[in-house]
Each structure stands twice: as C-alpha cells, then as structure tokens.
C-alpha cells in the first residue's frame, strides 16, 4: 500500500531547461511534505519542504507546489544544471500510522538526468 507515489522512475532534461518532478499521495492526514536529493553512495539530503497550509514554497532554483485537492505535489528546478543529476525522493509526514503515530513516508524516487 503505497501512500506516496512517484510514478516516473526517471526523467531526462537538457541543461538550462526546467525539471518537473511529480509526486502523488493518498492519505489526507499528511500535513508536511518534503523533497530529498540523493547521490550514489550517499544518504538523502533535504532539499525543500512545504506545509499543507501553503501551496507554494520557493528556495532559489527550487520551487515546490502543493495541490491539496488533487493530493499532488511537484518540484520544479529551473534552470536545471548537470549537478542536479541525482535521485529525488518525495516524502510526506503526518499522523498516518496504524495507531495514529506520526511518521514520514517516502516515495520510490525519480532519477533525474540533466544533460549538458
């Protein structure tokens, strides 16, 4: 039962263009959403987050959009750079455990290739 889905396993983008990574979730109890970036042989590193009370959060080249009614969020990277090539994980936090416990659930990740 995947509560957080990233349906695109990979995405290829030309340097300088926009990268759009998508994420869908099923549980309306999630109230905090995060994006992580992961390079090979390293742990994930936090990139940007958004609270459910907002619909947009921007940090430099990275913007996260949240559409609560559609249970959808997206990460925009513009302009994309070759150093952005990595796996991007979407994560959602909330009281969604079987006993109401607060937890963070990750999507399967999307591998982004930025071509020079």
């Amino acid at each position: 039962d995947q509560q957080v889905k990233q349906n695109s396993p990979s995405l290829s983008v030309q340097e300088g263009r926009i990268s759009i990574l998508n994420c869908d979730y099923t549980n309306s109890m999630f109230d905090y959403f995060l994006w992580y970036k992961k390079y090979p042989a390293e742990g994930p590193t936090f990139l940007i987050s958004i609270s459910s009370i907002k619909d947009k959060n921007e940090d430099g080249r990275f913007t996260v959009f949240l559409n609560k009614s559609a249970k959808h969020l997206s990460l925009h990277i513009v302009p994309s750079q070759p150093g952005d090539s990595a796996v991007y994980f979407c994560a959602a936090s909330g009281s969604v455990g079987n006993t109401g416990g607060f937890k963070t659930i990750f999507g399967a990740g999307t591998r982004l290739f930025v071509k020079a």
Binding site: L34, P44, T45, F46, S93, G101, K103, T104, G109
Partner: protein, 112 residues
C-alpha cells in the same frame, strides 16, 4: 564535521550471524530513525526514537532490535541474519519528529 555518522559503511556477513550498525548524531536532535532501502530502492521507515524512547516500530522482524543508549546514538542490532536482510540501511535524525531529517551515508549490508 559529520552531522549523522553510521558505521560501518559496508558489511558483508554470512547467514545466521549477528551484526550491529552504529549511528551517532551531533546535531542535538531528539528524534532518530532507521530506514531500509531495499533492492527496489524504496526507503522504508523501520524504527523511530524520540528522546531514547521507541515511538515507531514498523512491521520489522523481531530479529531487528534498535538500542538508544542516549539521545545522540541509535544502534541497530540484527540477529540471525537472512539473505533478505541485504539492503542499504540509513540512520537519520530530525528535530522535531517528521520535519527535515539529516541522513547518514548508509550501511550496505550484504548477507551471503
């Protein structure tokens, strides 16, 4: 100065052995986690500790036992290792629970 460090980075061991992975964070966070990344690359929460107290215990075999001697450490002990335990295990910490987490570099466990 590493924020979350876990050791060892690689661990190759035989089926049936018992092994431990250590994790330490110097961020002063109250919450620490263990995640497992399986062969399909899913990152799944295993355990979560807050102030040395277990608060999340997912459906994990009881061969896996976390131990938190203090707020800065969360070690993972695995008994009677099985082939299916082969994965990358990540330790992480956050403050507070559910917010942006800092991850260690991972421990690649291979059971042969």
């Amino acid at each position: 100065d590493t924020a979350v460090s876990q050791t060892p980075k690689y661990l190759v061991t035989q089926m049936g052995n018992d092994k431990s992975i250590k994790c330490e964070q110097n961020l002063g966070h109250d919450t620490m986690y263990w995640y497992k990344q399986d062969s399909k690359k899913f990152l799944k929460i295993m355990f979560s500790y807050n102030n040395k107290e277990l608060i999340i215990n997912e459906t994990v075999p009881n061969r896996f036992s976390p131990k938190s001697p203090d707020k800065a450490h969360l070690n993972l002990h695995i008994n009677s290792l099985e082939l299916g335990d082969s994965a990358v295990y990540f330790c992480a910490s956050s403050q507070p629970l559910g917010t942006e987490a800092f991850f260690g570099q991972g421990t690649r466990l291979t059971v042969v």
